[in-house]
């Protein structure tokens, strides 16, 4: 009787193992992820923008962009049915470096992408970079100085360089400009709902987020004349103007 029970037990276990295997295999097939890459790029018109190179803005100022960084937060894909898939909570983008983020995503049709520029209020109002592990983008080390020390809060974006306001060709660029965005009202969300990413299993699909520096500076009364408007720290009128131009400079390819 004991031996019989033992045999039955082994048989049941064997059955359960064999019956599990195909199910697991099937699950694996169904769950094979799609790969998605998100490249982040700067543009000047149709061309790529080069950091530390001299450009002319539409006001005739020669300028050079030496440091351009921003927090890209809550990078999210939006499905056809409106549900969302968070790809990455925080990424600190240094535009000096070519950046391509890679994700594994459940296959399907996605119609939108969204992300924030800056750090959402919930993470910013009670900022404490020391509470994050050193590799985290919001940590003391990982943030690369993107927080104020005399005040609470992260610096959402830095856009710094030098410009010439003399109009004399060949002169050294001496005029510093600096835009540090942050504080209440400075976190803005970019949303594009007119995309169509059909992400297929075991296939890599790539998109590029383009930040158009020429559109950030702009032209006319709506633009930023670096000879007149060259310093903003926090949610000042000029800081908020920069934020508005910044988020509207983005295109998705």
């Amino acid at each position: 009787m004991y031996k019989f029970a033992q045999v039955i037990s082994i048989f049941i276990i064997a059955l359960s193992i064999t019956s599990c295997d195909p199910e697991k295999e099937a699950t694996d097939v169904v769950m094979s992820p799609a790969k998605m890459t998100v490249a982040i790029n700067t543009k000047w018109g149709a061309d790529n923008f080069e950091m530390e190179e001299v450009y002319y803005d539409s006001y005739g100022n020669r300028f050079r962009l030496d440091n351009f960084m921003t927090y890209v937060s809550m990078l999210t894909l939006i499905r056809e049915d409106g549900t969302e898939v968070l790809l990455k909570d925080f990424h600190l983008q240094d535009f000096k470096n070519e950046t391509t983020l890679t994700f594994e995503v459940t296959p399907g049709v996605y119609t939108g992408i969204k992300f924030g520029l800056g750090v959402p209020d919930a993470y910013n109002m009670h900022m404490d970079p020391a509470q994050y592990p050193n590799s985290h983008p919001l940590s003391v080390g990982g943030s690369q100085g993107m927080f104020w020390t005399w005040n609470t809060g992260y610096i959402f974006s830095k856009f710094e360089g030098k410009a010439d306001t003399t109009g004399i060709e060949g002169t050294t660029l001496l005029h510093n400009y600096s835009f540090h965005t942050g504080d209440l009202g400075s976190y803005v969300e970019f949303i594009s709902l007119s995309e169509n990413f059909n992400l297929q299993a075991n296939t890599t699909t790539g998109i590029t987020l383009n930040f158009h520096v020429d559109d950030i500076i702009g032209s006319g009364s709506e633009g930023i004349d670096l000879s007149q408007e060259f310093f903003a720290a926090g949610a000042t009128p000029l800081g908020l103007k920069f934020v508005d131009r910044f988020v509207n400079s983005i295109t998705v390819d």
Binding site: D128, P129, A130, S139, V140, T149, W150, N151
Partner: protein, 339 residues
């Protein structure tokens, strides 16, 4: 001899504990009888090892980029944790634009920096450590250096259960030490406790003036802490190079507003004002007596006081009795090797 015995005990304690795990225990901070209780942040309640670690870090030059400055460089015990300079001197002898504030009684401050922009003592530590004008642009190289120190790593583990000396440990430990810097044992305090022979006639008259409606000093510098922590424009200038609170709020009405400093140990903490623009208490009293300069944001309480020379001398004498000599000579606040 006492120093030698204590040093031996500390060494014995540390060497003994390096063999076994360091054992931490809660530390009771003595608070003067009339002071409000200290509210400790969750997770950084005072313990012996946290305070010991904070004290070590406070005087550790490795925390600066050039390894030649510590917190104790600009906050010197004998000057009630100020430095006697007009304004701070940062890395590379860079002259900064503000006077070093005292660290006495920071445990009760609801916010930090002259604009009040930093909400906790833990975060305040980042201000000098992660600032290119003060101790370094990036504190992470300093963190790497500190991690080479086995004793600090063991203390970090025992005090905060962290495997390394990281920014969390540094900011918490510095704050834990700074909360022990309690000053409330001046002649004024003893007088308040009933020792009426502590004050001279001139000092008593000065005290009456200080708390009177005539001077209104105590409306901002009142209470046991001798500050209301308010942020005001006192009419120091008609045009401010340093905009003060406006830097934080971007509101023109906040130009020239700075946090009220404590007057405890004021005789030791000169030069005075946010920019160290006045060298003596006599100058400060003269300034308030004139009612300050015209500025749209000037607080209405700042007005000519019409004090006589005798009254000015009385006020001056009163301010000097706020010095707590036991505080500025407390060996527990010195670097361990100097104790």
């Amino acid at each position: 001899m006492k120093v030698a015995v204590f040093t031996f005990c500390v060494l014995a304690f540390l060497s003994c504990n390096q063999k076994s795990d360091l054992q931490d225990e809660p530390l009771k901070i003595r608070v003067p009888i009339d002071f409000p209780p200290i509210e400790f942040p969750e997770g950084n309640e005072p313990t012996k090892l946290r305070v010991l670690l904070g004290r070590k870090l406070f005087y550790d030059n490795r925390l600066s980029a050039e390894q030649n400055m510590s917190c104790g460089t600009c906050h010197v015990l004998s000057a009630a944790f100020t430095d006697g300079k007009k304004t701070n001197v940062g890395m590379g002898d860079m002259q900064l634009n503000r006077n070093s504030p005292t660290l006495a009684n920071m445990a009760w401050s609801p916010y930090f920096m002259s604009e009040g922009g930093v909400p906790t003592l833990e975060l305040q530590g980042l201000a000098p450590l992660h600032n290119s004008h003060e101790m370094g642009k990036d504190m992470m190289p300093a963190i790497a250096l500190l991690n080479e120190d086995e004793e600090l790593r063991k203390l970090s583990k025992a005090a905060y259960n962290r495997d390394s000396v990281d920014p969390f440990v540094v900011t918490r430990a510095l704050a834990a030490f700074e909360r022990t810097l309690v000053s409330g044992d001046s002649r004024y305090d003893r007088f308040q406790l009933g020792m009426k022979d502590q004050l001279s006639e001139q000092e008593t008259a000065g005290m009456s003036l200080f708390f009177s409606d005539k001077t209104n000093c105590s409306s901002c510098h009142g209470g046991e802490l001798f500050t209301d922590f308010g942020i005001y424009n006192i009419g120091l200038y008609e045009q401010y190079n340093d905009v003060g609170l406006e830097r934080k709020t971007h509101n023109q009405e906040d130009i020239g507003k700075f946090k009220t400093p404590t007057l405890r140990n004021i005789d030791l903490t000169g030069p005075y004002m946010h920019d160290g623009s006045m060298n003596t208490l006599h100058e400060v009293i003269e300034f308030y007596n004139t009612g300050g300069k015209a500025h749209a944001n000037k607080d209405s309480r700042i007005r000519p006081l019409n004090l006589s020379e005798e009254e000015k001398a009385q006020l001056n004498a009163f301010l000097k009795i706020l010095t707590d000599f036991n505080f500025v000579q407390n060996p527990q606040f010195l670097p361990l090797e100097e104790q």
